[in-house]
Symmetry: C2
């Protein structure tokens, strides 16, 4: 009793959350219900039934199978289903025409062979990556319809009627799906892709900000704050790393969406994919930066303090740039790459000057031998190497689907683990700082690619021109 | 004529390649053809036809829809289809029983409402992540069958016959699919997952090896060799980054596969997923390492030479460990984590000693002030900062699916790009070397996680014990 109640309460909360996360889901559910009811009327209302007959069921099936969340997905599936049926119908008639020979056994043999050959070829074709990606469903429907017609033709004389009805009902069902998805509160894959790109940019901006702030202020703050910022950093890049396949699907669906839509004038889904890839590469540097943060060879605060201002400034320019890109895409206006790059350049130059003024830290500075007073600040005790990133791995448990219990990993650290990692190697503490700085610079290089890609996107989407009064936030 | 011929030649080559990449695909295609032919016999052969009748088509459809490449996928789909049909059948009878009231219009209204409500609820339920992941297909079949039976009940008296036949034919079709996939050259998702894990480990080993060798020998070699090694590095981690969703699907399918199989005694697919996640995190460090390689602030050879031996040794231990893990999984024997960790520890210690002996490079070494002779070797001219990773971005074009043309990016570097990136900032050249070393150390920490996870895997899979005569390659 108690357990059942607890479970059903959990199920209810999950269900409510699904709707709250995206209220369009509720609308979509209602749309599907409505479409199904409408298509059932074909069967329930007498005059309609007499026109279509038993095949009305095929229209119901089409609605169940074809109607998807977005316009692009529905169009893709609908066209696949329609084309698959048409091609299969034509081919089946050819086969039937040829099979129209005397001798029942020979005829059965012929039909069997046709089914076998088409089955083999079709299944094989579905392995071809291009087909699998775009036409998998259509090819399956082709095989299905071909078999339906060819095999039926053995016992039914008027196969043409079967085929015609099937095509007509699929057209009715598919048409209804299209009307419902296109005209009643339409959801566009292109729009989702657009919003997903914006939120990825913003997530990365938050990630970078939290990362740098924590690196330079972390030790002064509470543990709990650390956890919160870790969470934020992780969420930012995790979203980008995880959305890869989802965004590819959205781009694929967007490619089916009509270009003439007033809402989505020529959405350049290819360019969104390119932006996604540059963001993916950018996020790898964020992962590496986060790794520096979690690494336990920590450069002491005294060294970090020397470069705090210039590093924070560079990072600020990076996340300001990311936010500017997000805003540009959101408000559909172009941005000024020049202004962004000028700011970043200045910050880079600034960091460089600071690094050069502390020659002890890195070899190769021109004015070597000067400022030796820094030596005292930077001389510090060694800490042990424990770049174990254990907090990173707690997050990992979320990555693995809910089902995978992490108990295997929650157990006390094995002796082995601690043995390697805490051998108290005495690496220099400047090493991780150098890595941090290097990653920041690397990040700027990747950011450049992102800016480029978004700039192309803005031009391809014909965003309105950047005007000087457009303030850069 | 010419163009058509070229296109069809290309299509033919693609088709042949698909088969060569995995010959099991050819076998699977033949199996599907055979299954379809067999199920068609239900319709073609008279005594069989008289037993089953028109509904034989439903068996054909089941075979087309349910038969998948691996046992797990087929079982998952088949059980989903079976369960969905059964539940829908029961519920539909309940509705029919209630709807058995006088008044045609009222009855139609009742059926319409039931269709609407079930349509809404079912569509909504499909958004719940857990359902979507495991039972999406089953819920769709439920909705489909429910509508089929409920709506038919309005005009057909003997709905029970329809439902019974439908269930029987689905059982026949599903059973045939299971027999074909389970008994005739079965493909196991668990086996694919196993092999994918091995090849990921080996790919990463190659990646790390190529990365480190190129970092220390790169400048001496030819451009073409660089490209080849870049290719190798890229392929290694790319496979891991890309296989995430594929491997999750395989794990899901493997969870459907029977545990009692003699071939696959209790495959711990959860643990394979965990290994996959640790490999994913490991591969991020490889990406970062590759970034260091492509970064164009290059530490001059003279500095690298100082640490070449110890870095290469550490990297060697890393890729030896990865290969050992791969071999352990392949030959299903346990390995000695202790031996691996001892070697890695020693190499780490070695690198640490080397770093300490060159105090100029990094602050904080204890024996500061000593070896000043190193200064001359390490003093070098500045190079410009161009961490642009252009070669990385050429690879990118492969990442974006074949369709996406990269012309937008192939154009001459924009002035903007070159402006930021080549501003000739004079960062110290030791900076990227420090990053490289730091990444190597970070990589060892991640490797630790991988070793842990594979060790758990070996225990869960009950691999045979490690014996001292098992040589570590």
């Amino acid at each position: 009793g108690e357990r059942v109640r607890r479970h059903s309460a959990l199920a209810w909360r999950t269900a409510v959350k699904v709707g709250k996360d995206d209220p369009r889901r509720v609308v979509h559910s209602l749309k599907v219900g409505l479409a199904l009811t409408l298509v059932s009327l074909l069967y329930l209302i007498k005059p309609l039934f007499e026109g279509i007959g038993q095949n009305a069921m095929s229209a119901v099936l089409t609605v169940v199978v074809v109607m998807e969340f977005t316009v692009g997905a529905t169009l893709g599936k609908g066209l696949n289903r329609g084309l698959g049926t048409l091609v299969a119908g034509s081919l089946a008639f050819l086969v039937e025409y040829v099979a129209d020979i005397p001798g029942r056994i020979f005829q059965a043999f012929f039909i069997g062979s046709a089914v076998f050959i088409l089955g083999v070829v079709t299944t094989y074709v579905r392995f071809i990556p291009h087909i699998k990606k775009n036409y998998d469903y259509g090819v399956m429907i082709f095989l299905l319809t071909f078999n339906l017609i060819t095999v039926s033709s053995y016992r039914v004389d008027n196969v043409w009627a079967i085929a015609k009805d099937r095509i007509a009902t699929i057209a009715i069902g598919g048409g209804l799906c299209l009307v419902m998805t296109l005209l009643v509160f339409p959801n566009w894959s292109g729009e989702d892709l657009h919003n997903s790109t914006i939120s990825k940019l913003e997530g990365l901006a938050n990630s970078v900000q939290a990362c740098v702030l924590r690196y330079f202020n972390g030790s002064e703050n509470q543990e709990t704050q650390d956890d919160a910022s870790d969470e934020l950093i992780y969420k930012g890049y995790k979203a980008v790393l995880d959305s890869k396949s989802k965004d590819e699907t959205l781009a694929l669906q967007a490619s089916w969406e009509p270009r003439w839509s007033t809402l989505w004038h020529r959405i350049p889904w290819r360019q969104y994919t390119i932006v996604g890839v540059t963001l993916l590469h950018f996020s790898y540097t964020v992962v590496a930066l986060h790794g520096c943060l979690l690494s336990e060879i920590q450069t002491p605060g005294s060294i970090r303090l020397l470069y705090k201002d210039s590093c924070i400034r560079l990072a600020e320019e990076v996340f300001k740039a990311l936010r500017e890109l997000a805003n540009s895409i959101r408000s559909k206006r172009q941005f000024s790459p020049q202004a962004l790059s000028d700011n970043i350049n200045e910050a880079l130059q600034n960091l460089n000057d600071d690094l050069k003024s502390q020659p002890q830290l890195f070899v190769g500075s021109k004015n070597f031998g000067g400022t030796t007073h820094a030596e005292e600040d930077t001389r510090v005790s060694f800490s042990s190497v424990r770049s174990d990133c254990s907090s990173m791995f707690e997050y990992k448990s979320k990555e693995i689907s809910g089902e995978v219990s992490m108990e295997g990993h929650k157990k006390v650290l094995k002796p082995l683990m601690s043995k390697i990692v805490m051998t108290s190697l005495e690496f220099s503490e400047a090493l991780p700082f150098a890595a941090f700085t290097s990653m920041l610079v690397e990040m700027v290089a990747k950011l450049e690619r992102v800016i480029d890609a978004v700039d192309d996107l803005a031009k391809l989407s014909r965003f309105r021109e950047f005007r000087d009064e457009d303030e850069i936030v």
